[in-house]
Assembly symmetry: C2
Homo-oligomer: 189 residues x 2
Amino acid sequence: MTGRPQRAPRADARRNRAAVLRAAAETFATEGLSVPVHEIARRAGVGTGTVSRHFPTKEALFAAVLLDRMALLTRRADALSATEDPGAAFFTFFAALIHEGADHRGLAESLAGGGFDIESAAVEAGSDVSGRLHTMLKAAQRAGAVRGDITFADVKALMSGCLARGADPADAGARDRVIAVVRDGLRAS
Amino acid sequence: MTGRPQRAPRADARRNRAAVLRAAAETFATEGLSVPVHEIARRAGVGTGTVSRHFPTKEALFAAVLLDRMALLTRRADALSATEDPGAAFFTFFAALIHEGADHRGLAESLAGGGFDIESAAVEAGSDVSGRLHTMLKAAQRAGAVRGDITFADVKALMSGCLARGADPADAGARDRVIAVVRDGLRAS
DNA sequence: GAATATACGGGACGGTCATCCCGTTTGAAT
DNA sequence: ATTCAAACGGGATGACCGTCCCGTATATTC
C-alpha cells in the first residue's frame, strides 16, 4: 500500500549487482543454462548468497540478463517492419535472431525450449521478441513471401535447428548456409 | 585368458532383462532421456538394482534400447541406396529419420546432441545410421540433387529442428511441413 | 566517529538422481 | 529334496545444485 521512499541502494550493492549481471551474461552465453549458479558467483567475485539476494532464482537472473538484449531485438524488429517489405523484414529478422542466439548458448537453449520459458519473461518485460517474429511471419505470408501453410511453431523449430548449427565456432559459414536453406524452403513455391 | 564356458543365464534374468529393455524403450520414447532410472525399473516391475546389474549405466541402457532400432534404419538406408536415385534416397531416408525420432523423444534428444553420444554407441554396434546418412548426402550432392556447399553437420542441425517440431502431438501435419521446408531448401538452386 | 540499516560470504539444507551394496529369494543342477 | 550360485529388491551412499540463513563486515547518515 505504501509508496516506496526506499533509500537508494548501497554503492557496493549496485556494483555487485552489475558484476553478477555481467558474469551471468558471459557465463550463460558460453556455458549454457546448466552452469551452476556457484560458477557465476565465482566469476563475479561474490558469494552465492549475493547472487540469490539480487536475483531470487536462477531463472530470474537469466531473465535479467536477457532483458536488454531482447529490448534491442524488438526495436530492431519494429524498425525492419517499418522500412522493409514484409518478406524482407521477416527473413532479415529471422537471420538476426539466429546470429544473436548463436553467440548465446543460454538464449539458444531457451529459444529451443530446453531451458527456462523465455517467452513469459520477455512478455512481462514488454519485449516480446517472439510476438514480433510471429507478427512479421503473418505479414510475410499475407504478402505471399512465405508459404501460407507454415505455422509460427514451425518457424521456431526450424530456428532452433539453425541456432544449434550457428553456434559452431569451427565453421563460421555454417550459420549462413542453414539460414539460406530455411529461407529458400520457406519461400512460397 | 580363459574362454568363457559361462553357464547360461537364468530364466528370470533373461525375462527381467527383456522387461527392462521393453520398459526403457517405451519410457525413453515418451519421457526423454532425463527420466529417472527408478521410473524405468518401476514400469518394468523390477528393482533398480536389477536394472543396473543388467545395464551398468543409464547410458548403456539407452544404447541397448537403440540398437535394434538403429539396425532397422541402416537396413532401410541400404535398401534405399540400392533402389532409388541418390536424391530420392537421401530425402526419403532423411524423412524416415524424422519420423523415427519424432516418436522417440530420447532418440531425438540424443540426435540433437542434448543427451548421450548416440554416434559412438551406434558405431560400436555396427549400425552407423549417421554414417549412412552422410554417405547418402554426398551421393545426392554428386548427383546434383542437393546444394554442394551443405555439410553433414548442417543437415544434422536442420534435422534436429524438424525432430523437435515433429514430436508435437497436437499438430500432426507439422512434421511434414518442416520436412518439406528443409527438403526444398536443400535442393540445388 | 558512532550508530544502524544494508549487504556480504559461504556454509547449511533439502531435493534429485545414478550407482553400489548386501541380506534375501529363487532357479537349476544333482 | 537338497544345495548353492545366480539374481533379486530396494535402501544406502555420494555427488550435484538451487535456495535460504545468519554471523560478520561495511556504506551511509547524523
